[in-house]
Subunit: 395 residues, 2 copies
Amino acid sequence: MSHVDRQCNLPQEIVQAISSVVGNGPLALHEPRFHGNEWIYLKECLDSTFVSSVGKFVDRFEDELAAFTGAKRAVAVVNGTAALHVSLLLAGVEVGDEVLLPALTFIATANAVAYCQATPHFVDSEMNSLGMDAHALRVYLSTMAEMRGGHCVNRSTGRVIRAMVPMHTFGHPVDIEALLAVAHDFRLQLIEDAAESLGSTVGGRHTGTFGLMGTLSFNGNKTITTGGGGAILTNDVELGKRAKHITTTAKLPHRWNFVHDEVGYNYRLPNLNAALGCAQLEQLPGFLIDKRRLFVAYQSSFVNVDGVRLVAEPAGCHSNYWLQTLLLDESFAGQRDAILTATNDAGLMTRPVWALMPQLSMYKNTPKAPLPVAESLERRLINIPSSSGLLPIAP
Amino acid sequence: MSHVDRQCNLPQEIVQAISSVVGNGPLALHEPRFHGNEWIYLKECLDSTFVSSVGKFVDRFEDELAAFTGAKRAVAVVNGTAALHVSLLLAGVEVGDEVLLPALTFIATANAVAYCQATPHFVDSEMNSLGMDAHALRVYLSTMAEMRGGHCVNRSTGRVIRAMVPMHTFGHPVDIEALLAVAHDFRLQLIEDAAESLGSTVGGRHTGTFGLMGTLSFNGNKTITTGGGGAILTNDVELGKRAKHITTTAKLPHRWNFVHDEVGYNYRLPNLNAALGCAQLEQLPGFLIDKRRLFVAYQSSFVNVDGVRLVAEPAGCHSNYWLQTLLLDESFAGQRDAILTATNDAGLMTRPVWALMPQLSMYKNTPKAPLPVAESLERRLINIPSSSGLLPIAP
């Protein structure tokens, strides 16, 4: 078949490759599954009348998240954005600082920096993990930053570069050890945006537990959901206490007095949502098995489709395969929108990756590194239906 | 009985007056009631799998809130604090501005101003409504502020005073018409903190619909609850659209593209919580009747207790009687903590009002008016058990 013919057929080939695994649509990109104790726990919550800011499910959800991830402390919050915001504040990000972020990320990562009145500084990704490129970052910082009084300073802007926030894209772990080394050498705090990577590990250790803090999301499209919700992970017990305090209006414990000792946030996860989370956590190991099975099935299905490959977990890592992802060959990148149209028209929900952050009007004048890989990935990535319930139950 | 004897007996008299209405404890200050369609709607939500950021209950809750309050638009958000934050931003509060607030309020009112990098400027309350004193405010502004270029400017600090945020304390409507006149004369935006006053009206019009925007809370301790939640009310349809946009990450609608056109917030109310809210709203008229019955019963019970009176709705207003409130005579203010101890020891949960905002470490250096009434109220107010289900069903 000629290259031109392949160009014309690729959208339909992809529709067929997806359908051969998951059947015909309509299929969402990522749907939650509620086949466990969701009902029972929600009812328990209503019966107790503790649906709101205190309740046993919040404590239990936090303890079970800590146990599952191996973090010393987990603090449940209202969503992943709030988790990022508070983590940046506790990491010492100040008004006027810069924070290094991947250009290829969801908007929450950048907005959380803006909430601190700090400036996002966007850097490139690498092909293997889709996440921040540690080597490129080191080279970049070596040319544009310098150490002044123990701080990393952007020579062009004169601002302190306080922290970096790598993100584990679609659940695939970033090269966290290499990034930690860069953070160490340039005196940067490292916060992991693990919103997409619950269940993903690096060398057996859970994502979100390598940096000073890590953040999770339990939005409706995530591997497990609390309706809306998130969490902060940390191995620093004092920092965990601070996170709990500042996310619960910074109120001092007292039998009746209302005294708050700093500007806090109303970021606590309601007990109702935590109840859902407890039921979902019980099913998480099964969800992860099912998502890996889906990857294997898609991989078989796509092996004979030229021009596209399925993104696999980096070596040494275990991905939760949150969103299954196609990477088009560069020569087929021009077909992206035709593929999105064909698949969505067929009822198979797909989507491209996010617009790169520096393309958005509010972030277009912020500092950025050269972004050749992120720009290439943006043209070539497509997420395909990824719900954990798409395959028949394993025999 | 001598004055000294009365001082000794007052705590026990108050315990007896409360118990004679609501029986013996343990009784919470304010408990939610889930005797309607809560379970059905939550189940519907789970069955649909739409528990998160979109779903029919969010739209329905918003429409029904607008219908109930008479606002042209209601936007459901994650809590009352978020509603205040976004309302202040949309009212044009800028970094470095001042915002007038009652010193006697919950911490959220002040924190929302701090989130805008603006400065709270605390003013006094009046005895009748417990809310901002319009007359005192007018006199105060006349002495310390001046108009410059169409803006109200604090002469001492040189900062623009951009807005005022009166709060309807414990559900009792503030003198909103008088405050609107002050806002008009000094070119201030007026945002109503109606977190506590769902169901409260002034001249038949719902609180939260007089100012540019009004904010509601559905925390677990409020008249109705969504677990955690809040809403923005407005009669400006364009402002309502802006509020919806900015509270849902400012994403532009598109079949698959992720483009956001400003720094937005992840402040949407999950569909799961909105489902609870829809069931609660159906019962709100009944809750309001029961809360008023409780006020009448307490009033009879306290009529013969010297040294204390029950706070009643201001003339021309209809209060939701969210929290039933005792006001001690000034000469009995020294008994406040003994009363709190006796009632809580008896299992009847009571609490004092919040510490005045300028007493808190983070707000002690912000500008403030003389606060003689707020200081007096702080010594003398006690909230007593107020749940709508405390009395037997009316015959």
